[in-house]
């Protein structure tokens, strides 16, 4: 039978964004693939060279539009490394809570988009309903639903509002029950199991070598997590443990393991939030004024030439990294060079190659299980 190339994307339900997967098929079997990226390249790295360190934060929000808080935090830690800033502990707790709320919202977005891929449209409506709770909470902090521009070099923009803690606890406790509901819906659905189990195997060592990170690694049976391996924030003081799966095959983790690990990770995020809000220094129902030293430290605005800043961050899709070289325009007010490492930029080409040998109908199941996001991929 003749082989032929099929182009999936840039407009295709499987892609979860704008990119193209070119697939070479032999009948129904995938024999070769090629990923094409770059459709929404905005040039954030170039723009950052003409912005000062505070002005860059909103651009980093927009790197990934379903996980804005974690990307802004990720940038802020690199800027703090460059400018050598000590962050107050209350601000670190607030960032942790905000980032974990964002992780919940982002994983819900992933599950909501993955459901229709597999044929479960109910999931979309349920996940959007629950995601709303966390967007409301983040809106209370940052003022908007999507791009918060919340962290600052040295702390956060605003303190948590009075009453935020009660609403947070109520919503997170409700959501813990909702996770059980999702599992009841999915783990007994034959379609879900048949389409996910035994599909899209990926081995731990192969993934690390290829640069894949985050939940996708933990699905393959190792609890490696940036939050303890290259620690930042106060993750060592709150109650949690990294989600990790036991893959059932020597071939590594399948799509079902990656789904399971994200469900478990949502539970851990809930656990972390509930613990952190009780331990927050300065009290959970106090509201410090903007710029108070409890939530925002004084930070220099200029970095000398030759200084560098670097951050690891466990974003919702894997390890994001920023590398900043100081000493740009405005006598060091701007970065000379800002470089972004996006986990999905590395993961998508790898995933494209893991599809070889499976059927065309498995492509959405495999691609969706790695949680692609094109905003951060193309930067």
């Amino acid at each position: 039978m003749a082989q032929m190339w099929i182009t999936m994307g840039p407009q295709h339900p499987m892609t979860h964004g704008l990119w193209t997967l070119r697939v070479k098929v032999d009948g129904e079997t995938v024999v070769d693939t090629e990923a094409e990226l770059g459709y929404i390249h905005r040039g954030v790295e170039k723009i950052a060279e003409s912005r000062d360190f505070t002005q860059i934060t909103p651009y980093c929000d927009r790197l990934c539009y379903v996980s804005a808080m974690t990307w802004a935090n990720s940038y802020i830690y690199a800027a703090e490394d460059l400018l050598e800033v000590e962050v107050p502990e209350r601000a670190e707790y607030i960032r942790l809570i905000a980032a974990e709320c964002q992780r919940l919202a982002s994983h819900l977005m992933w599950l909501g988009a993955y459901g229709p891929d597999i044929g479960s449209l109910t999931l979309m409506t349920w996940c959007m309903r629950d995601r709303e709770m966390f967007l409301d909470l983040l809106q209370e902090l940052g003022g908007s639903r999507m791009h918060y521009n919340y962290p600052r070099v040295g702390g956060v923009k605003r303190d948590i509002p009075v009453g935020f803690a009660d609403r947070l606890v109520a919503k997170v406790k409700l959501f813990e029950h909702r996770i059980d509901e999702y599992e009841m819906l999915l783990d007994e659905s034959t379609i879900w199991l048949v389409r996910l189990q035994g599909v899209g195997y990926a081995k731990a060592e192969d993934m690390v070598n290829a640069g894949v990170s985050g939940p996708n690694i933990r699905a393959a049976g190792v609890n490696y997590d940036v939050r303890w391996a290259h620690p930042y924030s106060v993750y060592d003081q709150v109650d949690w443990e990294p989600a990790v799966e036991k893959p059932t095959s020597v071939k590594g983790a399948d799509c079902y393991d990656r789904y399971r690990v994200r469900m478990e990770e949502m539970r851990q995020s809930c656990r972390m939030i509930l613990d952190a809000i009780e331990k927050i220094p300065g009290g959970k129902n106090t509201n410090y004024a903007n710029g108070d030293e409890m939530i925002l430290a004084k930070a220099p605005t200029r970095a000398p030439e030759g200084a560098t800043g670097f951050s690891h961050y466990e974003c919702t899709r894997g390890a994001s990294q920023f590398y900043i070289q100081g000493g740009g325009d405005g006598r060091g007010k701007n970065p000379y060079r800002l470089s972004i490492r996006s986990p999905m930029f590395i993961t998508i080409p790898y995933v494209a190659k893991t599809m070889i040998g499976y059927k065309v109908a498995d492509i959405p199941a495999i691609m969706g299980s790695f949680d692609p996001c094109i905003g951060e991929t193309d930067r």
């Binding site: 770059g38 690390v208 640069g211 049976g221 924030s233 990790v244 800043g309």
Partner: protein
Amino acid sequence: MGMRVTNEQADMAAEDAVKKLSDRFGSADVKATVEHHANAHKMAFVRAHVPAQHWTAVAKYLRFDAAVNYCSMVTGTHFPEGGADRGWEVVYHLMRQPVTNQAPNTNTVHVAESLRGDDIPLEYEVIITLPQTETPTVPSVQGIWVGADWNEKETWDLVGIRFEGHENMHRVLNPHDSPEGFHPLQKQHKIRYHDFNEMYDDAQGFGRKPTDEGRVK
């Protein structure tokens, strides 16, 4: 309670790595030092300055002898005013991660505080400085870390660093038909409206002409 790699563990791992790297490559002008981040928990990492001609040997050593299994990021920087010796810089960020394949139905649950030796996660920053030249060239490590493949493609695409021996090099973020030699992160390219006054003289952009008109589709 949560856990984390302690500062003592990271210091120990970094000092050990620097010592081994210096013993092996000190005569080849590889300068390795232990550095500390200034943010969060001020963790230690290894910074190594490697001459371009020894990079392949150092990379092979790191990958196969020092258990560095993860190439996370490649950054190229253009220094048009950096002097004759420093026109370009390529920075590789590499990680050592305690990740191994698992037998079916088992997993590895590391406890950060009890990790020892090569199991301690460690970060390497490898800096390769290149002289002022039209054709900055670095040997590719695509064959050593699969993860370097697309990172190097991106660095060539945006900055114009050439990776010698890289197979299948092509544009990834810029359009495929971008003119040859067009690498937007080189410093001679200015973004439109980088100047405040220019922006407010013509806020609507009616008189705007792209600086690269006719060259980029």
